[in-house]
Symmetry: C2
Subunit: 264 residues, 2 copies
Amino acid sequence: MSGDGTVGKALDVLDQVAEFGRPVRFGTLLEASPFPKATLYRFLQTLTNQRMLEYDAERQTYALGVRLVRLAHAAWTQSSLAPLARPHLDALSAKIGLTVHLAQLDSGQVLYIDKRNAAQPVDMYSQAGKIGPAYCTGVGKAMLAFLPDAEQARALTQQSFHVFTKQTLASKTALKAELKNIVTRGHAFDREEHEPGIICVAVPILSAGARVLGGLSITGSTKDTDYGQLDTHVPDLKSTAAAIARAAQDWRFPGADPLQQTGT
Amino acid sequence: MSGDGTVGKALDVLDQVAEFGRPVRFGTLLEASPFPKATLYRFLQTLTNQRMLEYDAERQTYALGVRLVRLAHAAWTQSSLAPLARPHLDALSAKIGLTVHLAQLDSGQVLYIDKRNAAQPVDMYSQAGKIGPAYCTGVGKAMLAFLPDAEQARALTQQSFHVFTKQTLASKTALKAELKNIVTRGHAFDREEHEPGIICVAVPILSAGARVLGGLSITGSTKDTDYGQLDTHVPDLKSTAAAIARAAQDWRFPGADPLQQTGT
DNA sequence: ATTTCAGTTCCATTATTTGGAACTCGGTTT
DNA sequence: AAACCGAGTTCCAAATAATGGAACTGAAAT
């Protein structure tokens, strides 16, 4: 799919294995692969040597390797908002006692990078790294709404517009209108657009230069909460988002004047 | 370092960026890189295109990309013991109320894949994916001890034998002797070998075929606990390790007779 | 105006990847 | 027993991509 020479192809193979979500046999991969047998075979060999994949000789299956877990630890630490945002998430979660999500946008999709769950506090790693649709989730829409026009347009073409519930906004036009509302309102709702019974409020995390750094949301079920109640949390959400943005700023320009490089 | 054509080299570059642990400039990487300027440049381009790296145009720095977080989620889910072991860790941690680590062996090093921390329960992602030395930690030694001879020999050559404390076993000979004790005893101690004041007991997680799947440890500080007290937790550790091994078995051979393929 | 340096591009040479076809090895069918 | 099968593996000449020395750019320092 993505060109970029040999490396790109090898990474495509990695993604493919990841998509199966379970150890997978050579033949199965071959069916789903654009590569001829010998080529795919060699890629698998290489990736296994590199321990990006692990081969189970007994079962003859390939699975993602531990080297990825190692790399991801570094990635999560250095390239996402998560470590910076953590204390703020803790505080927010403690204050309001509902499920909180922290996400970033990754090729038009929502990538959850941290979470605080009211009921069972330690469900994190299983959720961080998870992806979800942008057009029908609170965080997704909040981030899309504040994207610069060009990026927003590109992101919109990447939406699948699968209809999950009756409330799902299943067209670009409907979504665009909603995004305008979100910008004027300053926050987004998910009105059971992704899962029936699940609603949420979300705000974007914006840098001083109004760049979308990520999104922050509070989720509840229709049984336990309603839009009015979620609305009351918006100030908390906004101040947390602002605090995270500030932390990001300080970290990116430690001790220096912020953003003087963009000014003309 | 690791050959394997273009893909191997590109992954080496990735590792290099990871090692810096922070966004890093082209020049800095170049100094530490075996590749000529143009070649390194092209690798960085490719990896950035592939979103394995992220380039910050303002600061001119490269950092690990979010695609890794995504892949790692899949890796953690499908290729490590962590998801299987989670309920057992929860139970163990709840019962004994001390810090618990779950680890696997990755090229002679300890790779922590899950953790329960007594005091501050949500410190997980920051730890999962972390690596540590094998020769001077409880889990490390427990796993090394039960490795088949050939693998153990290979793993021993991969130890750095850096002296962290007075107790550190800083030679292959000393370590080998200790490993023998561990096998007969069935569990390993870390007697402040890695960090002063930190002690731990650990057991290996062994499959039905006696393959080392991972390790499990309980950690405490010399202030709060002592070897005698840790010793009392060994039965709990062992039964948890056994439970995890059983879960792994069931998962690898769902509904089938275990391990009949190795018989003869 | 000149130098310096980090980062980027060019392009002929070189090395790697590519994939069709042929092979191997259990197991199954005739 | 011989032939067959299909999954997995290896081979090798042709096609393609990677390589890196050198030259370029643009911004900052002198």
